[in-house]
């Protein structure tokens, strides 16, 4: 079955440093979604990328979808303590047709040290 891996699993940064997490799928994805889960909370949708090579920005966050639609990255510039949480990528495999099972990656837990 489809596997979605993320690296690194954990990342500690000083406030103001940049942060990047990478997402790799074993199968070609129909689209890629990114979610953030604060400690003790539930996943909250951040953004969706659909097109091959697509890049989207949300303030200090930059999201990229790979040309082959099998990988993605999230980059945060100048991290703040409010960025603390676990970042998950998720995406349905292209072969899933209309079912669109949303498979989540393993997540990257970000800690920002003040």
């Amino acid at each position: 079955g489809q596997q979605v891996m993320q690296i690194p699993q954990y990342q500690h940064v000083q406030e103001g440093e940049d942060f990047t997490t990478y997402c790799n799928s074993s199968t070609t994805l129909s689209n890629i979604q990114w979610y953030k889960q604060r400690p003790g909370g539930h996943p909250v949708f951040l953004i969706q990328l659909v097109k091959s090579g697509e890049v989207k920005k949300q303030k200090r966050l930059t999201f990229q979808f790979g040309e082959a639609k099998k990988n993605s990255s999230l980059h945060i510039t100048a991290t703040q303590t409010t960025d603390v949480g676990t970042y998950f990528c998720a995406g349905p495999p292209l072969s899933s047709g209309s079912a669109r099972q949303l498979t989540f990656g393993s997540g990257t837990q970000l800690t920002v040290l003040p």
């Binding site: 079955g1 993320q6 979604q33 539930h42 996943p43 949708f45 209309s98 989540f104 393993s106 997540g107």
Partner: protein, 115 residues
């Protein structure tokens, strides 16, 4: 707009007992997901409904887990009998339709502890 409602928030049971979780998705959302999230891991899809039909339950341990969405609205997930390894947060999510461009909205989850 009301979010996805789940109950109970917490549940502690002994192994071999049964437990049920309830989810009420956002009004009008056709797709409903049940995920299991073990501490430190990503959410694992257990079952996905489109209206009241199952579109994927390949990772549902069917010998002990069952789920239904009888009227295409709210849903229940049951575990019988529970095992220690079932300790996790059970997340319910819904989306307008299961296709590109539709984000999933999650409930607060039910934290299950099996002792």
């Amino acid at each position: 707009e009301a979010g996805v409602a789940q109950s109970p928030r917490y549940k502690i049971i002994e192994k071999r007992q049964s437990v049920a979780f309830w989810c009420n998705p956002i009004s009008g959302h056709a797709t409903l997901y049940w995920y299991q999230q073990i501490l430190g891991q990503g959410p694992k899809l257990l079952i996905q409904f489109q209206n009241n039909g199952v579109v994927d339950d390949s990772q549902l341990p069917k010998d002990r887990f069952s789920a239904e969405r009888l009227k295409g609205v709210d849903s229940t997930l049951k575990i019988q009998p529970a095992k220690l390894e079932d300790s996790a947060v059970y997340l319910c999510a819904s989306s307008l339709v299961a296709r590109a461009g539709t984000e999933a909205f999650f409930g607060q989850g039910t934290r299950l502890t099996v002792v």
